[in-house]
Amino acid sequence: MKCYVCAKEGVDSDAVAACVVCGMGTCMKHTIRKEIDVWEGGYPFPSKKLPKRMPRMLCPDCSSAFTEAK
């Protein structure tokens, strides 16, 4: 799979990840890694935040949408 963002710029590069939201293939340069908190439990027990965070691979467009939404 090729990087979609590079392809739009006329550059040919191999994808190293697929965006978890839109599925776009992205190269190392265009892949954005976000760390998401993971919670365990819930009613009738208090939720606990797990020590490790979950990595999410996003393309630049989805990452900016995710950041703006916050």
């Binding site: 919670w39 439990g41 819930g42 009613y43 009738p44 027990f45 208090p46 939720s47 606990k48 935040k49």
Partner: protein
Amino acid sequence: MASLSARCVAEGVGTLLLVYFGAGAAAITLMIAKGSAPPNSFNIGIGTLGGLGDWFAIGMAFAIIIAAVIYSLGRVSGAHINPAVTIALWATKRFPANEMVAYVFAQLIGAALGSTLFVLSAGMNAVTIGGLGATAPFPGIGYGQAILVEAIGTFVLMLVIMGVAVDNRAPPGFAGLIIGLAVGGIITTIGNISGSSLNTARTFGPYLIDTILGGPNLWIYFPVYIIGPIAGAVIAAFFYDKVCSA
């Protein structure tokens, strides 16, 4: 996880809301029915207006506030809002002893604050006429019968909690809705027998504030709402572990 003090505050607020809206609905029903003649001695006012529909309305007030508290505070403290539930989880080694004691105190304090807020909202008629929605066995119902009925009602409540929330196989997202509706259904049926407390804190709050403000003194019935709910919840938790978890 939130600190124990934060979780106790959440438990207190949750129980406050339960007593304000749930027990408050019972008090309001009595206030609305004041002056109308009950058709028989088994009817003390709740039921005069719409028969079993009065109890259904009270049950729905409980159902909706329980669902709201579970969905809003469940992730923080677990939203037990009921000493019987906390003690049953502790008895089956799912909840630490020191936190169980803190939760029960928080629930009792929250219940008392809920009744206090209800008086401040509705006035002294809520005490003198509505009794703040305090529970007591109905005419013709003996002490032992009331304990049995409370135990059966809380058994069903705890069984539902085990099935829809504690069990890892339960579908996610339904706990608050189903538990709230279960309580509503239980109250509709057994409300006119034992008062349908299912919850020691829910009875403690109205009893305490009624006593302080000169309302009815019902403390003689308090053991009914300690023994029945705790026995029913603990039996249900062990029953689920032995029979339903295989």
